[in-house]
Symmetry: C2
Subunit: 258 residues, 2 copies
DNA sequence: CAGTGGACTCGAACACTGTGCGAGCCCCTT
DNA sequence: AAGGGGCTCGCACAGTGTTCGAGTCCACTG
C-alpha cells in the first residue's frame, strides 16, 4: 500500500547516466499532450509508450506508477500559472491575475480537474504558487488561519467554477456539436422539465443569455464571483482595521467600491 | 457515440412488468453503497453484480452503461440535500443551509467530486435543487444573468472547497494513518521544501492551526469563505439599490454587517 | 389449453487496462 | 576480458466495460 510519505515528491529520483532514449520529463510532456488531446480516458501506458516509440513497460523505469505520472503531469501544468510578485500590483489585482491564470490553465488542461479531488497536490510548482500567494495575501493584511482561509477561498472559486465549465465542455465535445446546437437539441427535454419547476422555468425565459457567446457568459460569471469575493474580503479587512483601531495605516489594497 | 441529447434523463425508461429480481433503483442504491465504501475505483460491474447476487451483465438490462449508472448515482445523492423553501428564512440563511447541506453530502459521498467535471448534471434532483435555489435568490433580489452567476458562485464555493478537502481525505485514507500522524510523517519533507519557500515557511510557523482538529479547520475555512461571499453579495445588492434609487423597499435580507 | 412473444438473466468472449518479472542489451569501470 | 548496473521490453496475469446469443419464465392471445 502506497504510503503518502512515499510519494513522487518525497522519494529520491533515480540517478541518471549515459544518454537513455527516454526521460521522465519527456514522458510527462507526452502524457500531457495525450491528456490534452483525448482527455483522461485517452491516456494509457501502452498508448503513451507507442507515442514515444518505445515499449509500454519501459516507462516504468522512469515512473513508478501511472498515478505518479498523473501527479507529475498535474504539477507540471501548475507551473504554467503566473502569480505576480508581491508589491508589483495592488493585492486585488495580484489575486485576480493569479485566479484568472489558474482558470485559464484549467481550461487548457481540463483533465486536471478530475485529478484534484483524488489526491492533494504538493509538487514543487504548487508549492511555488502557494508561496507567492501567501506573500500576496500576507502583504494585503491577512495572517494566521485567516490567510489560509483566504487562499482556499480563491482557489476554491477557481476550481469550482471551472469544474462546471469543463463539465459542459466535455458534453459538447462528446456530442460533436457546437454548444448552441447542443442546447437546441436539448430544448424539448428542458421544456418538459420546466413544467415541473416553475421558478426555474420563469428564470430561464428572462435570463437574457440566449444570444451571447457561451464563453463570454462563463467569463462574466467567473469575474462576477471573483469580484464579490474580493469585495467581501475588503470589507473584512476594513472591519478588522476598525476593530483594532489603527486607522492611520491603510492596507495596500484598492477600495472595495471603485 | 453518445449524443448528449441521448442521456439517461432524456431517454424513456424501460417499461416494467412482472417482478424481476433486479431493479434500477436497487442497482443505483447498491452502487452508491459500494462507492461510499471503496471509492470510485471500487465500483466495477462485476463486483456490483456479485453484491446483488446476480451476474454482472444482467445489470445492462436496467442500465445502458456504467457511465449512465454513475450519472444516476450522482443525481440520487443530490436528492439528499435540503434547500429551504422561499420565505421560510432570510435569504442568507437559506443559502447557507443549502451550501452547508451540499457540502455535507459531498463529504458523505466523496466520489461525487470526481464525477462533476466529466459531465453536466441535469438529473431531476439537481433540477429540483436549482429550482429552489432560483426561487431563493430571486426573492433575495437577484435577477437575469446575475441570478445565474450568484447560483454558480455558491455552488462553485461548495465544490471547490470540498474538492481540496476530499483530496487530503483520500490521502489520509490511503496512508491508513490518522491525519495528525500523516502530517507528522510528512514533516521532514515539508521542512526541506520550506527552506526554498520563505513566505510559505514563515506562515506555516504562525498559522496556529497545528493543535486544532482538522475537521474544525475545514469547517471554519468553509464558513469563512461563505460569509465573505455573502457579504460581497449583500454589498452588491445594496449598491444596486442605491443606483436604481428605490431606497424605500428593502430586499428581504439581513444587513451585511451585524 | 397450447403457443407465442417479450421481459429478463447470464455465461462466454473480445478488446482493453495497469503492472511484475525476468531476459537481454549496451556502455563504463576495473 | 570480465563484470555490473542503467535501461529497454515481451510475456503474462488479473481485472476492466461491454456485446452477443442462448436460455428461462411469465402474461397474454388464439
Amino acid at each position: 500500500m502506497a504510503d503518502f510519505t512515499d510519494s513522487v515528491w518525497t522519494r529520491p529520483a533515480r540517478p541518471r547516466t549515459g544518454q537513455p532514449t527516454l526521460s521522465r520529463e519527456q514522458i510527462v510532456r507526452a502524457a500531457i499532450e495525450l491528456l490534452d488531446a483525448e482527455g483522461a480516458t485517452g491516456l494509457s501506458m501502452r498508448r503513451l509508450g507507442a507515442r514515444l516509440g518505445s515499449g509500454a513497460t519501459s516507462l516504468y523505469w522512469h515512473v513508478a506508477t501511472k498515478d505518479d505520472l498523473l501527479e507529475l503531469a498535474v504539477d507540471e501544468v501548475m507551473g504554467e500559472v503566473y502569480v505576480p510578485e508581491v508589491g508589483d500590483t495592488p493585492w486585488r489585482v495580484g489575486v485576480s491575475v493569479m485566479a484568472n491564470g489558474m482558470r485559464a490553465m484549467l481550461l487548457r488542461h481540463p483533465w486536471v480537474i478530475g485529478q484534484l479531488g483524488t489526491r492533494p497536490t504538493i509538487g514543487p510548482n504548487v508549492l511555488r504558487m502557494s508561496n507567492r500567494s501567501v506573500a500576496l495575501l500576507s502583504a494585503a493584511g491577512f495572517s494566521g488561519p485567516t490567510l489560509s482561509h483566504v487562499h482556499s477561498l480563491i482557489t476554491a472559486h477557481v476550481i469550482g467554477s471551472t469544474t462546471t465549465e469543463t463539465a459542459v465542455g466535455a458534453a459538447v465535445r462528446r456530442a460533436g456539436k457546437s454548444a448552441a446546437e447542443l442546447r437546441e437539441s436539448l430544448q424539448p427535454f428542458m421544456d418538459k422539465t420546466a413544467e415541473q419547476y416553475p421558478e426555474y422555468a420563469r428564470w430561464r425565459e428572462e435570463d437574457g443569455v440566449r444570444d451571447m457567446e457561451p464563453e463570454q457568459v462563463w467569463d462574466q460569471s467567473f469575474g462576477f464571483g471573483l469580484d464579490r469575493i474580493l469585495d467581501g474580503l475588503d470589507l473584512w479587512l476594513a472591519q478588522q482595521h476598525a476593530r483594532t483601531g489603527d486607522s492611520d495605516q491603510q492596507p495596500p489594497g484598492t477600495p472595495p467600491i471603485s
